[in-house]
């Protein structure tokens, strides 16, 4: 029986013949550069390959299957939970050479794209037709379609238009053994059998490698108007959001930020946000100007009941751009806020029923207080999605241990409120320890599906707790922490 290392070496040699020497590397520099994503972890692949076609991906998978070598697909490497890291080494597939817009069919309301295109590039291609792919993740300038499909990404406009899964009509996927399957359809609906395309969305590369996506497109809004409100209590901001939704208003976006995030956003964007406010919401409506105007008025009446400190209205595209630049900078900008504390993604993506937003915010802050950890809370609260960024002394083991306990309680509380671990970032490795909290009864089913499609466990192994329960995320940290 050849050793694992020999298997990798043989696989690498054969894969090099497929992609060409310029598109495969085992150089230490490349291995190291690809051992990071936007998560707190780091893990080195044995080789990086950059395929350019589905045929190449298929051949790579056949080789990897033969030698039982792990393969981890990766887009821009913006995963916040380690989904794009080669946890067990093997081949890291950098999919960013596959970046064609293959077909734009506006009359059929879809676009066919390769996985390495960025979200922004897809929307640039659609703009001239007056259409777009709505989810709008904060990392949309860099994140790829493959990554969005992998983690079922969503964003600011998902409250109205849904997440990536709601837009994926069909996929081309390479399975673990190299088989190419086309699943889903190019129609807006279908009822012929299992909805396998929907299953692959959010599977984080553990079931197959996505090589093409057929995505439903939506007309660009004719007009957008924005209402921004600031509060002296965060829970009031949360109640305002629940109330807007319960009155039947469906906003284009509905965001929340706490004081920590307001300060972080302002420090980056300098757009005049009041840094003493405890809560801020951004409410937007899109459509015909007259209708939008009525909706904004109605939202204002609702928001005023929660006694905001101040309100701002704007339909000026420049002001909107400023506000969104500030909002989308929150995650990284938090790292500059509290002397020496670094913004980390640990309990970064909870989602709760809309009526529970205020309860969740209150609970998260109480838990942070209990464990004496600094958190910044923000999110697409309109669909119940809340991000709690932990600001940590990342080189101190005790800080990590404390953070883990706080995360455990945050996730327990989230699940008890009827929520889920992740609204849009996925599970990767970081959230693996908490899978059993939410998926007590169906994690086994996921493991059965994984085994059926990837019997040799070569596709992005080590993620989603698909192999076994995981006890901690304090593992393979990318920071120099004594004792890890």
């Amino acid at each position: 029986m050849p050793s694992m290392k020999n298997n990798v070496a043989r696989a690498v040699e054969e894969i090099e013949d497929i992609v060409g020497s310029g598109n495969l590397s085992t150089d230490e520099a490349d291995i190291y550069a690809y051992s990071f994503d936007a998560s707190v972890h780091s893990s080195r692949p044995d080789a990086v390959a950059r395929p350019s076609s589905v045929e190449e991906v298929s051949q790579i998978m056949s080789i990897a299957y033969k030698y039982e070598v792990p393969v981890t697909p990766r887009g821009a490497g913006t995963s916040l939970c380690g989904a794009s890291l080669a946890w067990r080494g093997g081949i890291l597939l950098d999919m960013t050479r596959m970046r064609k817009v293959k077909d734009v069919r506006i009359e059929d309301l879809y676009v066919v794209v390769e996985p390495g295109l960025t979200y922004r590039e897809v929307n640039e291609a659609l703009e001239k037709y007056g259409f777009f792919f709505p989810p709008d993740p904060a990392s949309g300038d860099v994140c790829t379609i493959g990554g969005m499909v992998g983690c079922n990404a969503s964003g600011a406009h998902s409250v109205k238009y849904g997440a990536t899964r709601d837009h994926v009509l069909g996929l081309e996927v390479v399975l673990a053994d190299g088989r190419i399957v086309r699943t889903g359809s190019r129609t807006l609906k279908h009822s012929s059998g299992y909805q396998l395309a929907k299953l692959f969305v959010g599977s984080e590369g553990t079931l197959g490698v996505v090589t093409e996506a057929t995505i439903k497109v939506t007309p660009l809004p004719e007009y957008v108007s924005t209402l921004v409100a600031f509060f002296d209590r965060l829970e009031e901001a949360g109640r305002a959001i629940s109330s807007i939704i319960s009155k039947g208003l469906i906003p284009y976006s509905l965001e929340i930020m706490d004081n920590t995030c307001i300060r972080a956003a302002e420090s980056y964007a300098r757009i005049g946000l009041p840094t003493d406010a405890e809560g801020m919401i951004i409410v937007e409506f899109d459509g015909k100007p007259s209708v939008v105007s009525e909706q904004i008025d109605e939202a204002r009446r609702i928001v005023e009941k929660f006694e905001p400190v101040s309100l701002e209205f704007s339909d000026d595209p420049n002001r909107r751009m400023q506000l969104w630049k500030a909002r989308k900078s929150v995650l990284p900008a938090l790292s500059r806020l509290e002397g020496g504390l670094v913004s980390t993604s640990l309990a970064d993506d909870m989602v709760v029923p809309m009526s529970k937003i205020a309860d969740a915010l209150k609970a998260y802050n109480a838990i942070a207080g209990k464990y004496d950890v600094v958190i910044g809370l923000y999110g697409h609260a309109g669909d119940g999605n809340l991000h709690a960024k932990f600001l940590l002394n990342v080189t101190d083991l005790e800080s990590w241990k404390k953070a883990f306990k706080a995360c455990w309680e945050i996730y327990e509380r989230t699940v008890s409120l009827g929520g889920a671990l992740s609204g849009e970032h996925g599970v990767g490795f970081t959230k693996s320890p908490f899978m059993k909290l939410e998926h007590a009864s169906d994690l086994d089913v996921m493991r059965i599906i994984k085994k059926a499609l990837d019997p040799k466990n070569i596709l992005n192994p080590g993620k989603l707790a698909l192999e076994k329960d995981v006890d901690s995320f304090v593992y393979k940290l990318r920071y120099p922490v004594e004792g890890v």
């Binding site: 490349d30 995650l331 980390t344």
Partner: protein
């Protein structure tokens, strides 16, 4: 954590937003050649977690130092400071500058200009000094004449300090300590005076890098700030586009002044998609790009963006940008420096 650069790297959340704007990543495509990739290579060296390979050196030295990643970074990571350190660490581990870079370094250290040309020692005595740098006077004779004409017209009392390198190449090639000594020596001449420059690279070095890397504060101004548009004759009727140099991306007043001066000449100024703080590098990297082919590809991309405006003339503020863009755009579109246009219009 005592190491300032290591602390800076730990602050980076690895969000990857810098990848979107990096001109080298755009043409290479490997993470290793992105700002985030290069930051991580530096991290690997500092943690002793990465063995040096030639590719690590190539990736670090491929950084153009254009600074656009810093503009995009929501954590305000000082990417270029990290790159200086990364290159320094690479040199310690066996990285070798290219022949051209090595020559340039040696020339700066021996002769105080990148060409190694022996020039007489100069001392300055006046309060206002025009610091011409070395590229314009020693490589671009006709541009230099135009610059000096503008100096004599608009800064009549200034003393000209000609042909001396600002020291930036030392820093950009990872010779951080040598840069500090060089800066300290030159600053003895320049401190407590008004230092006016035309070369954007010198401008940024003297204003920003002297402060950040050597703790030296100088009073630095750009020549365009002194040009009085009331004394310029209408001499242009063309549609022009300004290519903003990387080194001035944080100086909107100078860039706006450039446009208003061109309008005073009668030109119709059109704008490229990448301008002001978001300007795209010409690919030269202050003459220090280690892989010329990569620089050429960046230059072509920049050229495309400028040509798309439909302008007849591309106007540059930096002599190096002019050289690069002439190579990628002429004869399709004329490339000319702003000093030549202005000096020709002085009434």
């Amino acid at each position: 954590m005592k190491d300032e650069i290591l602390r800076e790297i730990l602050t980076c959340t690895e969000c990857g937003y810098c990848k979107q704007v990096c001109p080298i990543y755009d043409v290479v495509g490997w993470e290793t050649f992105s700002p985030r990739g290069r930051i991580n290579l530096t991290y690997g060296f500092l943690l002793e977690a990465l063995k040096y390979t030639e590719k690590a050196g190539s990736a670090l030295f491929s950084c153009l130092g254009c600074g656009v990643g810093e503009i995009r970074c929501p954590s305000k990571i000082r990417i270029r400071k990290i790159m200086f350190r990364g290159k320094q660490e690479a040199l310690k581990r066996g990285a070798k500058p290219t022949k051209k870079q090595a020559e340039l370094l040696e020339n700066v250290l021996k002769a105080k200009n990148i060409y190694g040309k022996k020039l007489p020692e100069r001392k300055v005595s006046k309060d206002v000094v025009f610091f011409s740098g070395c590229i314009i006077p020693l490589e671009e004779e006709s541009v230099h004449k135009s610059v000096l004409k503008l100096v004599s017209e608009f800064l009549p009392g200034a003393e000209v300090l000609d042909g001396i390198c600002c020291g930036r190449p030392l820093l950009a090639l990872g010779e951080v300590e040598k840069f500090r000594s060089y800066a300290e020596e030159l600053a003895r001449e320049l401190q407590d005076r008004e230092v006016v420059v035309a070369c954007p690279s010198c401008y940024e070095a003297l204003k920003t890098w002297y402060q950040e890397e050597a703790g030296i504060s100088l009073n630095v101004k750009h020549l365009l700030e002194y040009v009085d548009d009331g004394r310029l004759a209408k001499s242009l009727s063309s549609k022009v586009v300004v290519h903003d140099p990387c080194s001035l991306r944080r100086e909107p007043d100078v860039l706006r002044k450039c446009r208003s001066l061109l309008e005073s000449l009668g030109a119709k100024v059109v704008e490229p998609s990448k301008k002001f703080e978001w300007t795209l590098c010409c690919g030269s990297g202050h003459k220090l790009m280690s892989e010329e082919e990569l620089g050429r590809r960046v230059s072509e991309k920049r050229g495309e963006d400028l040509v798309k405006t439909g302008a007849d003339v591309v106007v540059t503020i930096c002599p190096e940008c002019a050289r690069m863009l002439k190579a990628s755009l002429q004869p399709k579109v004329k490339v000319v420096d702003v000093y030549t246009l202005l000096s020709g219009a002085v009434a």
